[in-house]
Amino acid sequence: MSDDTAFYTRRQWLQATACGFGSVALNGIAQAAGGHNSGKPHFKPKATRVIFLFMQGGPSQIDLFDPKDYINQRHGKPISSPLNKNLLQVGTEKFLALGTSVPVRPRGESGTKISDLMPNLASIADDICLLRGMNADNPQHAPAELQFHTGSMNDVRPSMGSWISYGLGTENQNLPSFITVHPQADVRYYGSAFLPASHQGTKLTVDSKAPIDNLSRVSPSELIQRQRLDMVQRLNRRHLQSSQNEAGMQGMIEAMELAYRMQTTTPDLVDLSRESKATLELYGIGDPATDRNGRACLLARRMSEAGVRFVQVTMGGWDHHGNVRGNLPGSCLGSDRPAAALVKDLKARGLLDETLVLWSGEFGRTPWSQDLSGTSPIDVHGREHQPQSFCAWMAGGGIKPGLTYGETDDMGFHVTSGKIHIHDLHATILHQLGLDHTRLTWRHLGRDYRLTDVYGNVINEILA
């Protein structure tokens, strides 16, 4: 088996573009080169698409889903630290318990516990599977986010969406198979690394004028732009003849046409004017608090419906180092309605069964308080990062609805049962898509790489 550096033949290129997004890598793309996947599932899938709602910053699970009597009873009082003594801390030296100020109650028939801060999610409690034993390895944003997206805390590895695109191919030749709405700055979170570039995420904003970079034409009229493109293509085709149909040359000619088409198809895709008023309202579009996230979630549904394999929507604002009680309601307000609307909408359209929705941050927050000033009263303290345990939820895609899975200790620090490490989460998502995480590999530097590295177990207990 050759490495991923193999040179490219036209036949390989045709194969590759058939399963990518009108794209070609001059080196290292052919399925035959480094990859072992045919672009088909390994076994019968439960889901065909994923929508990942990424709550960047680390939502406070103890305030939202997993309240603790032990902490509430000791609010403002010192508790004993379960932390590893090797770690430096800032603002948490006093180790004060920080109670939950807004009630977290059992909801629906399932009794899934959800905070009053998330009334919309509470209304679909029986549709989601709450994961309370989430576990990651790094307490800092950048490496933790990288691990959540790529399985690795450093290094440059393909992101989850890229692996899925590579594993399943695209369902729509005119759309990327992986779209990420409002991503953070780090391109690694949606990069394809050593996988073919056709599997990288395309970033999108809900701004209808410029949803994708460089989409607005610079020529003074449509006609002139087309005439210029025709000239480009004439020159390219003549050049192609002289090089006898080299893959890269041909690839760029097609990429040019696709780029041109995207100038009209993309604004159409992000144009929500034809959605019903009821739908817009459902997502909170028009309400300043929810408009941006609402549009993003509605777009996610539309793109998913159109066949995009992996759509990610990033919603930030969860990094509450200070005044978590004061700031958490705002973060919930902006995201609760759009996220719940997405599940409701998918369900109403009969798409929820085949669409796996995941809601998660990169980690959770400590049950004890953080006060960077050292002098603030307890009620305006925040919480520090906590990868040891946190909460996420999934819906649809063959995941058991109405289930609460995983328990943490009295304090809400260690997982005591139902632990799901990031690698397990990745393995489970791939499993629902009909992909065996141990078989979805790409050879790079002599080694077969996986999303789950050498780890990961499918969590069968949460499968319907």
Partner: protein
């Protein structure tokens, strides 16, 4: 049959005595037995056996917990249980979920259960279970690496001297390289294609050596030079150009994880990183011998020096070890050190040796004859090196900084700057005082009965804004005061010593101590002795740069080959291990490696001989017969076409439009603008950070290598890097991908860079000549570096006409700010047509590829 075959099997000596000692059965007292059976065995069976017993499908971490020997011997890196010593027993750490080692993974066991295990270990860990079969012994034996057998892999064999092979067509070869290439082709019965024309060759060699296309004058000079020396004259000019260093230093930066940022979290700026970049550019330009180049980067701080410049270079060079994605925010400082050592040795292994040493952090290499002993032998060297230190910001660390020697002139300059700086601080203080007085006056006014509240509020806001501005400028001035030159550099720790194995890379879970040393399978003699109190970096550097090292020269010449010919002789340029690719021309590779070492490790000399070869002159034309035999062109019957990398695309656009400005070196990050940084207060919770909102005006026109590199995403004006396969600055890679995706096409169609370049280019063409055909000829020469053909001329004229008509139809031209230049000129439709033509050309394959 193999009577004289010796296998040197190096086992972990710490494990063997344990095995021997525990072979006899153990007698337990009744009490011990009861305790074990009631409290310990059920837990082990229930929670541990799935992964750590004969029942396991795969024994995780080579750890067996279903017999006493397994517990005592432990896993890959150390005993799980030390009878009587709870602190030293890894099993307890794991059960307590301490130190990142968390077992069982499904969830932490209750304190009661963990307490029972502690009690049991204090009792001496009585355990009636003995080795049930020979599997333990077998699994332990597999933990050894067979170095002698491993040496058989071609890349670990010494570099050999080969005679230049004979060929039938003796008129073809120019350089010795050509003999090797032609001999292989003749053997495969392939005829190489014809040479490329002179224009194509000149464009190729200019882009490859300088990263810039030739100018019309340079083209003219070469085309009219009829002497046989014409090619050599061009190559010598290109190698002597400072642009050569700017091009090739960037290739090297791809292998360092370079960024103007430390780590990835919180946008922490790497204030001194640019010095390493400038050091590289200079090193390539002066053709620093590669063995010296290695030594400076690994151990420059330990080298003697004659001049201040030399000392400065030596220190700056060690930036190689500390520029990269270092997690300085890691709150666990011991772990940070272990991770950094891993980064350093992984980088060193890949860059100089083409080995994946990072794989060996947790276990022996799965494919290559490299064991934990090799990894931790090197890790000891890097753990003995000071690279990071705790800083005064929250939990953060920083990269260690060294003061550089200062020339008397520089010192004088700094003194002058310092007095100017003092004046600046004074004037800022004055402004602040003035604003404070105004505020006091205003507060007094507000107290009066007849105060106009709205006007006062407005004034108050205004004052507040001004004061914040002054504060920001003051903080900025205080932070960036004129200082002695400094660089990120390493030094030896006074406590330099051997290091211990870390279990699964966990810095707190320690296994056996390993003596420092080099990678055995690559070594030709016993490892050099490392003097007491020294890290061993100097010995490492010498070992890497030794002519007996089988890998360094091969890996290096292969990467140079790849940059010039598109593919390496070994295509897996960063991996020469057993699963890497075999060389297409093993003898040529050795020939080049040998020449390289014997020619004083001169990169310029090597590059010169390669680009003057016949092989490098070949055209890119197709050949059905050759394609049928060698479809991947492994034998180089023609030149491989390459897409320009991000830097060459941007630099070429600026160059052909005449916008490129020669501004060499210096900080890439424009931190002199106060708005570009934050968190400058002493002892802030987070370290000083950048927020790049303003660039120097000239940065828009500077070569891409000098623009700041950001680890998360590339800033304007170099964000095309992210579209065109820039090596992520968290990655170490000797090879860039060459992808084609629609977002690149969108860039070429609509981005400001090609648009602005087209406008500048069109204006110059208009100024240069009144005649259409002269303009077009000039355009073709600038962009494609060749004469325009007659049919292209017709097509271009027709296109210009077409756009003129469309332009008039579109009415007032330009709804893009970049096009405002158009309306300023006389005949707007004429210049628009020319802009569109220039823009078309800059978006074509012929421009973004080199043949």
């Amino acid at each position: 049959m193999h009577a004289r075959r010796f296998l040197i099997v190096i086992a972990f000596l710490s494990i063997l005595p344990v095995l021997q000692a525990s072979e006899k059965p153990v007698d337990l007292t009744r009490e011990e037995s009861d305790f074990f059976e009631a409290r310990i065995r059920p837990v082990l069976v229930r929670y541990c056996y799935e992964c750590h017993s004969s029942e396991s499908k795969k024994i995780k971490g080579s750890l067996r917990l279903d017999h006493r020997e397994g517990l005592l011997a432990g896993g890959e890196t150390g005993p799980a249980v030390v009878p009587g010593d709870v602190q030293q027993s890894l099993l307890i750490n794991a059960l307590r979920y301490d130190d990142g080692l968390e077992m069982p993974p499904s969830g932490k066991l209750s304190d009661e259960v963990i307490g029972n295990f502690e009690k049991w270990i204090k009792m001496g860990a009585p355990d009636p279970r003995t080795t049930s079969s020979s599997t333990t012994t077998a699994s332990l034996k597999s933990k050894t690496v067979d170095i002698e057998a491993g040496r058989k892999h071609w890349a670990y064999q010494p570099v050999k001297k080969y005679a230049v092979p004979a060929v039938s067509d003796t008129s073809w070869p120019i350089e010795p390289t050509d003999h090797f290439i032609l001999a292989s082709l003749e053997k495969a019965k392939i005829r190489p294609v014809a040479e490329a024309d002179r224009h194509t060759w000149l464009r190729r060699v200019s882009l490859d050596l300088n990263g810039l296309p030739p100018t019309p004058e340079q083209i003219q000079a070469f085309i009219s030079d009829k002497s046989p020396e014409a090619w050599a004259r061009v190559v010598d000019r290109l190698l002597a150009s400072p642009a050569y260093g700017e091009r090739w230093a960037r290739h090297w930066l791809d292998m360092t994880g370079y960024a103007d940022q430390i780590g990835t979290s919180n946008n922490v700026f790497a204030e001194h990183a640019w010095r390493y970049r400038d050091y590289l550019i200079d090193a390539f330009n002066v053709d620093k011998p590669f063995d010296r180049f290695i030594t400076e980067q690994i151990a420059g701080d330990l080298l003697p020096w004659d001049t201040a410049k030399q000392r400065s270079d030596n220190l700056v060079a060690t930036g190689f070890l500390v520029l990269g994605d270092i997690e300085i925010v890691n709150p666990d400082k011991l772990q940070l050190e272990a991770d950094l050592a891993d980064l350093q040795l992984t980088k060193t292994g890949m860059v100089f040796l083409g080995q994946t040493l990072g794989c060996v952090r947790c276990h022996d290499h799965k494919f290559d004859p490299i064991g934990l002993e090799d990894y931790y032998g090197l890790a000891g060297i890097f753990r003995s090196t000071r690279s990071v230190e705790k800083i005064d910001n929250g939990i953060w660390s920083g990269i260690t900084v060294a003061k550089l020697p200062e020339s008397p002139e520089a010192r004088q300059k700094r003194m002058n700057a310092a007095s100017e700086h003092a004046r600046l601080l004074d004037s800022l203080k004055e402004s602040k005082d003035k604003l404070t007085r105004q505020k006091t006056d205003m507060e007094k006014a507000a107290g009066k009965m007849d105060a106009d509240k709205d006007a006062l509020k407005k004034k108050e806001d205004e004052l507040g804004r001004k004061m914040r501005g002054v504060d920001r400028r003051t903080r900025h001035a205080q932070y960036f005061k004129p200082a002695e030159p400094r660089a990120f550099a390493v030094s030896d720790m006074p406590s330099a010593a051997d290091t211990q194995i870390t279990v699964r890379g966990n810095a707190h879970a320690l296994g056996a101590k390993v003596p420092r040393g080099m990678v055995r399978v690559i070594s030709w003699s016993d490892s050099a002795d490392i003097p007491d109190g020294q890290s061993g970096r100097l010995e490492l550097a010498r070992w890497l740069a030794d002519e007996q090292n089988p890998l360094t020269a091969r890996v290096t010449v292969n990467r140079i080959w790849q940059k010039l010919f598109g593919e390496g002789l070994v295509r897996s340029v960063d991996y020469f291990g057993t699963r890497g690719e075999k060389p297409s021309h093993p003898e040529l590779l050795d020939h080049l490696a040998m020449q390289f070492m014997q020619g004083g490790w001169s990169q310029k000399r090597l590059i010169r001989s390669l680009v003057l070869s016949r092989t490098y002159r070949l055209g890119n034309t197709a050949d059905a017969k050759a394609s049928a035999i060698d479809p991947e062109n492994r034998l180089l019957w023609r030149m491989n076409r390459q897409r320009l990398d991000a830097e060459a695309i941007r630099d070429s656009m600026l160059a052909v439009s005449g916008e490129l400005r020669v501004i060499r070196g210096g900080p890439g990050m424009p931190l002199e603008f106060p708005e570009n940084s934050s968190s400058l207060e002493p002892k802030a919770v987070n370290p000083p950070a950048y927020s790049l909102v303003k660039f120097r005006p000239e940065q828009e026109f500077q070569r891409t290598v000098y623009l700041p590199v950001i680890r998360s995403a590339q800033p304007e004006p170099s964000n095309l890097r992210d579209l065109f396969d820039f090596t992520q600055p968290a990655q170490i890679s000797g090879r860039r991908s060459q992808t084609i995706v629609p977002t690149q096409a969108l860039f070429l169609l609509n981005n400001n860079l090609p648009r602005k370049s087209s406008i500048a280019l069109a204006k110059q063409l208009l100024n240069q000549s009144g005649q259409n055909d002269k303009r077009l000829a000039e355009l073709w020469l600038r962009v494609y570096n060749r004469p325009i053909t007659a049919s292209e001329m017709d097509e271009a004229i027709e296109f210009l006409q077409q756009i003129k008509v469309s332009g008039q139809m579109a009415g007032k031209s330009g709804d893009n700010p970049a096009d405002s230049a158009i309306s300023q000129s006389g005949d707007s439709s004429e210049i628009l047509a020319l802009i569109e033509l220039c823009h078309a050309l800059l978006g074509t394959n012929e421009f973004i590829f080199r043949q």
